[in-house]
Amino acid sequence: MDIQHLVEMANQIGKFHEAFPDRNEALGDAAGHIRRFWDPRMRRQLLEHVDLGAAGLEPFILEAIRLKRTDLTPRTPATRS
């Protein structure tokens, strides 16, 4: 999938949650949103992008993804999606 598009979507999610005063909760909620609404192949590709340097990802959402990486990792192997 177009990684630039996924990066933009992730940044938008980050922007919404970043405004909340409890940073830890906000980081968890931002990552949780991706976990709850993104198809596994999208999450897998986002995580691969993080591993490749995370170009374009804004600091808040990048921190959230790194913090919740285990939760975001799809349960199903790539071949199933």
Binding site: D2, W38, R41, T79
Partner: protein, 948 residues
């Protein structure tokens, strides 16, 4: 007139709690205080002759046919205008009254053509009935005097005729246009004998301001206003109550029939959403169901450049199933999915998601609510705990202040707009937030107190500024928020909106709305009594659509405008079954009843019931499907009733995705734009050809009833069941009622719903369960569904779609009264008389700057693409903003819109596209390609051959 007559009580009911007792012709009658004598008599089974009275209109007292005597009173009062009083003794029939009535009828008939036997209203005419009822046998004045018999018939309206020679000037049509519809298009021109009904200023109906809602025809007691379909086919024999398949109002209609032929659709007086009113679409635009473009045989083809092969149902279903299986074996379980539509019934959307989850084995199911109201589901669930509007439509009768934001009810939800206008005429106040001057801002006897003409894309800044005023000026309903909402979230939100940067003065530069205007509007909403917010796609179709919905919920909670009649948060759903399709689990992350696929207990419930293991990961949303198709991991798609190649943004991206797939199965009525990219075509059934239910914007579940056999032989739910069975997951329902029974077993908010219960109650608003056995008109009455209401901080984040020197204007899109969505239905009706093409509205200043004149062809260029339309120069627009509709495929409105989307739901940002507009002489390159592709596909359809 309606051929399948309801009992007409002559005047509207009284809602007074006190009852009065009287006798009429010696019969004791008890009625609510304020009830007319006419209504009281008819309630007691005593008919009183009448012509100018009908119970949808206030009493008028002009025809003098309903005269009665009242013991102890002088004269002959009109029973329609005289209220019942305690102890009254009324006489409706005696020789004096008979003489008077006969005399009145003589005068009417002396100026009426005596062509009853060939008249289209023969047998369905109140004048004819009354002549009989009063015993008219002779007209002493003869027929040779001055009369109106030579006045020409007006046939300009495509759906009805106006024959003034048959008019008795009872004013029912004029009053219906005023009281029921609120358009004021009709008047009585002239005085005395010269009085005549006049559309506009003696214009023909088509040229006048008439919106063809049909209220005047419904009210007309003679053949003066008559449907052309009745003139052609004759009066209908029987009627079936069903639900309109157009907008989210979900009007109840009577399909008036001759055999299996629809003669006309008349709004059901007992309909809970519409109370006997209708609009031009539901009332008249049903002819598409029998349009020659209907495809009635299944077809398949290997490639989209091949001619179609007409095949049997068995072969088409077998081929589709084998293709999906092949793709999944080659590319993985997640390589296929489905998209349902809000034009499908609840039962159909339920089966679609069941097929995807159980037969495909993934969660790649989405529905067109993705591109309209998905932010409503997210925003209202987050703040209040339920993905639905809080009120019923009738709640507006108790509203003191209406705040309409991002909605154009007179065009999008016309029947409810009439209810709104009625309440506004009674004195309710109106705030409109919209970049355009929509009709509701100023129309006859309606004027908004505030029109917040904001810049597109700044809803959140505007809503935050309103919240700022409410918080900083001490207008919060402290008792409500303390008792009903979460304290910590309230404190956080209060601090957030009180910041100086949220003030109207600070946000004016962003929104374009002057600070004092905004302050006035906020004060009015917070202090004007019952405040109700009505919103539409102008709120949701933004990069901050979900944020704006939550900001709206914040406002309603902060002012205590939740949990009773007259208030609430009211999303006006675009299509008839947006609410229902969402309720039925049509999103890739949710089972029916808005329960997440990650929830093991919910998933186990469905697994146990369906007997199959279900995927716990969310699936692809519609825009994700396109991206995945272009990337190569998504190869097969099953669509029912949804035309993504026209309706979804960035058309060229969508069609590239469609071309990249290996099997597209389209189930539809016509060769819609998406079907031109399909490999299997399964001919669907219109709403007249199937049973089911729709759920409207007020959570009202209503029956759709089959009035004719499916043209292609199968109802849509049967087709989905066949495909599922062929995929290896058998579905063996015999009737959609069994599907609803399954939904009720599995969905806590639907446990009390069944076809029998809907038939008993007429309609049901969910939740309907042990706690609410008759349904729930108003939600969150005692507590929010989630317990305490949750305030959410709603930081304004400007969209990435910005104007610059190259794209200096903002394009926003919407719809028009006479057309519906992609127009597949309404373009195949006479509604094209009002809107034969999409046009670009542009402000005179922007037009002049570019040398654009009315009707000129202009090119509209965005970062996504280019198209051409003809210009309409209009001061409705603000400078810097242009507007168009998307009802005609060749317009290519969505060639211009971009893939920007809501952060939470991926709902596309249709409402903000930066564009340049310039005069042009030729079609765009896309339009040329589209024209050629369309011709090729129609030729391939024309060459369709029986398969071997």
């Amino acid at each position: 007139m309606t051929a399948i007559a309801d009992l007409d009580y002559g005047t509207p009911p009284s809602a007074a709690p006190k009852t009065v007792s009287l006798t009429i012709d010696g019969v004791p009658v008890a009625v609510p205080e304020g009830t007319s004598i006419m209504r009281a008599a008819i309630t007691a089974g005593i008919g009183i002759p009448k012509l100018c009275a009908t119970d949808s209109l206030d009493a008028f007292g002009s025809c003098r046919l309903c005269l009665v005597e009242i013991e102890g009173r002088k004269g002959f009062p009109a029973s329609c205008t005289t209220p019942s009083e305690a102890g009254m003794r009324v006489i409706t029939q005696n020789s004096r009254l008979a003489d008077l009535r006969r005399g009145v009828m003589e005068l009417y008939i002396s100026d009426h053509p005596l062509d009853c036997l060939t008249c289209s209203a023969n047998g369905d005419c109140e004048l004819q009935d009354m002549a009989g009822a009063v015993g008219l046998r002779d007209v002493r004045y003869g027929y040779e005097g001055e009369n109106h018999l030579g006045i020409a018939k007006d046939t300009s309206n495509p759906y009805f005729t106006f024959e003034p020679s048959k008019c008795i000037v009872c004013s029912r049509c004029v009053r219906a246009c005023e009281e029921v519809q609120g358009t004021y298009a009709l008047t009585i021109d002239g005085r005395g004998f010269d009085s005549k009904v006049s559309p506009g200023q003696m214009e023909d109906f088509l040229s006048s301001e008439c919106v063809s809602c049909g209220a005047c025809i419904q009210a007309c007691p003679t053949a003066t206003l008559m449907e052309k379909s009745v003139i052609e086919a004759g009066t209908p024999d029987y009627a079936v109550v069903t639900t309109c398949a157009y907008c989210g109002v979900g009007c109840s209609f009577k399909a008036e029939m001759k055999g299996s032929q629809v003669v006309r659709m008349t709004p059901n007086k007992d309909g809970h959403a519409n109370h006997g009113h209708s609009c031009v679409k539901g009332r008249f635009a049903w002819g598409y169901a029998s349009h020659p473009d209907r495809i009635t045989s299944p077809m398949i083809r290997k490639k989209i450049s091949d001619p179609w092969q007409v095949v049997s149902w068995d072969e088409a279903i077998r081929y589709a199933a084998s293709e999906f299986k092949r793709i999944q074996q080659t590319h993985g379980v997640g390589s296929v999915g489905a998209i349902s539509s809000s034009r499908c019934t609840n039962e159909e959307t339920y089966l679609m998601q069941k097929l995807v989850r159980a037969a495909f084995g993934n969660n790649n199911i989405d529905t067109c609510a993705r591109v309209c109201h998905s932010p409503t589901g997210y925003g209202l669930k987050t703040t209040m705990g339920e993905s639905a509007g809080t009120q019923d439509f009738d709640s507006v009768r108790e509203t003191d202040v209406m705040f309409v934001i991002g909605a154009n009810p007179t065009d999008g939800h016309p029947v409810f707009a009439s209810a709104m206008k009625r309440r506004l005429r009674e004195g309710a106040k109106l705030i409109v937030a919209d970049p355009r001057r929509i009709d509701l801002v100023r129309s006859p006897h309606v004027e908004a107190s505030y029109h917040l003409k904001l810049r597109p894309g700044t809803n959140v800044a505007l809503l935050n500024a309103m919240a700022h005023v409410i918080v900083t000026e001490g207008l919060v309903d402290e008792a409500f928020v303390t008792a009903r909402c979460e304290g910590p979230s309230l404190a956080q939100w209060r601090e957030f909106v009180a910041r100086p940067e949220q003030s109207p003065e600070a946000t004016a530069a962003v929104t374009g709305v002057a600070a004092d205007t905004l302050r006035g509007a906020a004060r009015l909403y917070a202090t004007g009594g019952n405040g109700a917010i009505y919103y539409g796609l102008g709120v949701t179709e933004h990069s901050q659509g979900s944020t704006a919905v939550m900001a709206i919920a914040n406002l309603a909670m902060a002012t205590g405008n939740i949990g009773r009649e007259g208030v609430g948060v009211n999303p006006l759903r675009g299509q008839n079954n947006v609410q229902g399709s969402c309720d039925m689990g049509s999103f890739p992350h949710e089972f029916p009843g808005y329960r997440h696929v990650l929830d093991d207990s919910v998933r186990n419930l469905f697994q146990d019931t369906w007997g199959v293991t279900l995927e716990s990961e969310p699936g692809l949303r519609i825009p994700n499907m396109f991206d995945a198709a272009l990337e190569g991991s998504f190869k097969g798609l099953y669509l029912e009733g949804e035309d993504i190649a026209q309706s979804d943004p960035n058309t060229q991206h969508v069609t590239a995705a469609l071309e990249a797939m290996e099997c597209i199965v389209v189930q539809d009525l016509f060769l819609v734009e998406t079907a031109k990219f399909a490999h299997v075509f399964l001919p669907g059934s219109s709403f007249l050809e199937k049973d089911g239910t729709f759920t409207n914007a007020e959570r009202r579940i209503s029956r759709v009833r089959k009035v004719m056999p499916p043209l292609a032989g199968k109802e849509d739910w049967e087709i989905t069941a066949l495909l599922s069975t062929a995929l290896g997951f058998p579905m063996t329902y015999h009737h959609p009622s069994e599907i609803m029974d399954e939904i009720a077993r599995l969905t806590p908010t639907f446990t009390g719903v069944s076809y029998a219960r809907i038939d008993e109650l007429g309609s049901i608003q969910w939740p309907c369960n042990a706690s609410h056995p008759a349904g729930t008109p108003v939600m969150h009455e005692q507590e929010f569904v989630r317990g305490k209401g949750r305030f959410i901080m709603t930081e304004y984040v400007a969209t990435h779609e910005r104007v610059n020197g190259r794209y200096p204007l903002i394009l926003t899109t919407g719809r028009i009264l006479s057309q519906y969505n992609v127009g597949a239905q309404t373009r195949r009706t006479e509604n094209v008389a009002w809107h034969e093409e999409d046009r670009l509205e542009i402000h005179p200043h922007d037009a002049e700057e570019r040398g654009i004149k009315e009707g000129d062809w202009v090119g509209i260029v965005s970062r996504a693409g280019e198209t051409t339309l003809r210009a309409v120069i209009s001061e409705r627009m603000q400078p810097g903003v242009v507007y168009t509709t998307f009802h005609h495929p060749e317009s290519g409105a969505n060639v211009i819109t971009t893939e920007n989307s809501d952060w939470a739901t991926n709902c596309p940002e249709y409402k903000v596209t930066a564009v340049q507009v310039m005069p042009v002489f030729n079609s765009s390159e896309w339009q040329e390609r589209h024209r050629q592709f369309n011709q090729q596909q129609l030729a391939l359809l024309g060459r369709a051959q029986p398969g071997t």
